[in-house]
Amino acid sequence: MNTYKHSVSLDESKCKGCTTCLKRCPTEAIRIRDGRAIINPQRCIDCGECVRVCPHKAKKAVHDTFDSLKAYKYRIALPAPSLYGQFANLDNIGYIIGGLKEIGFDSVFEVARAAEIVTAYTRLYLSRPGIVKPVISSACPAVSRIISMNFPFLCEHVIPLLPPVDIAAMIAKREALEAHPELSPEEIGVFFLSPCPAKVSYVKNGFAGESNYIDHVLSVRDVYFALLDVMRNLRETGTEDFTEAGMVGIGWASTGGESSAIFNERYLAADGIENCIRVLEQIDNEEIHNLDFVELNACNGGCVGGAMTVANPYIAQTRLQSLRRYLPVSPNRPNVSDIPKEAMRESAVTYAPNAKLSEDRVKAMEMMHDIESICKSLPGIDCGSCGAPTCMAFAEDIIKGETNADECTVIMRTLFHDYLKKHEEKAILEGLKPLVPKSKQEKNDN
């Protein structure tokens, strides 16, 4: 029934079954079963939080490797602007563009360029009469996914345009086919160099529609290490490559960049998945007024905070600030007519609820009755030892038949104490040895 592929894998040999990821998952998608963390793919929004917090490095973001380049005659790299913030002392983005051409790519199309086109479209869209406000950015796939799961009324607020990376992929592939008529579309590989695992599942699950223009997703981390040596040489020899993006496009890498570029102060820009969810709840309750645009990034700091990056997000942002400083605002004079028709959507996000206890209301009510009464009998300390993030989630799991009530360690401890006490009384009466030595003194006697 469910075919959603999420982008986090678990190294079972490293997972200790601790409760760190369990407690931090914003959608309660994780459970600990048989001492290992498992993810419910229906609930996972690929925010990467569990990858970031795992103390044992057992959670890994799934992405493609450089091996995938081999399958194509012509390879196009789509670097995310956050890649530029990974390098210390970089004064010319041209070294990255040139470097990419030396590590296996035939051409480069910067996602920042496409971001400038989206910015131009957003400005125009906001001026249209009759649109639902606030308009919500479609750029962060984790945010789009949580809207589709939990916020039916906010779906139509999401701007009906695909994110910059898809537009970059469409334009880059079209340009490559025009420049190389000898190539067939299958011979051209489009590679997104991504800061986040959410984009991996976004591509795998075809969020961008039936015809996906991105073929593979590499991690910014892998690309960073592949580029280091090459870029060192380029800095000595110089490069003729240069960035075609401007301040606006590169600004998209961190929170506030996308919003500030629309020249409308009535915007809200938030980051961190918990903050994003809270903002969405408040918009849903009609609690925020006089707002035209909302930019939400699941990662702290924005895309620079992605789980597949190397640098601290705030350091990366500082580097981007100095890189942007001497760039033109938006050098390509992006025009809304540059947007491929396929990138426009009737609606960017469709409501797909997945939290129903049962399709039958009466049955769902009965289940919730049972959940509430079990929950009352639980300790309410949300310790996670049972494998569920909260006592309420545990009660739900019991009723859904996914776990047993005796997994609650707090209740089991009480039962065990009672048992010990009874045994002790019996032991005194019958002159038997106690099950557990009472004190050091007794231990020594044994």
């Binding site: 609690e287 939290a355 509430e372």
Partner: protein, 141 residues
């Protein structure tokens, strides 16, 4: 048919940033029960407005939500100052909230009007110096 479901919440009067938590929890329950987006939205906005009112004016209170086969009932009870003129309080734009509450973006005088707009039944029982009980019902059929 089934026995009605009852949920009880304590609404903390001290904390503005957590105001609205009870309505978010109720929304989650309604989602699990498979209610339509429209019902979820009406319940959640009506309840949210009431919750905020209790935080602003009455130092908190309690919220009791009952889900039956035919309706969802929300009862908000506080021991606040009470509403002197309920009819006037129902007018759009009327608010007794002080300036520092307004500075937080509240006190637009839309709370009670919105509660009326999103519910099928609204009853306010208030006594000055004793407290206020607001009962809202949303029909399911």
């Amino acid at each position: 048919m089934g026995e009605p479901l009852k949920f009880h919440f304590e609404v903390d009067g001290e904390n503005f940033s957590s105001a609205g938590e009870a309505s978010v929890m109720v929304k989650k329950k309604l989602r699990q029960l498979g209610f339509s987006p429209e019902i979820m939205r009406r319940v959640s906005i009506a309840m949210y407005e009431g919750e905020i009112n209790m935080v602003i004016h009455a130092d908190g209170g309690t919220a009791d939500v009952t889900v039956s086969d035919t309706e969802i009932e929300i009862v908000l009870k506080d021991k606040g100052p009470g509403i002197a003129d309920v009819e006037r309080a129902m007018q759009e734009g009327y608010s007794t909230a002080c300036d520092n509450i307004r500075a937080l973006g509240f006190g637009a005088g839309m709370g009670l009007p919105n509660m009326k707009k999103y519910s099928d039944y609204l009853h306010i029982d208030s006594e000055v110096g004793v407290g206020t009980t607001v009962t809202m019902r949303i029909n399911l059929n």
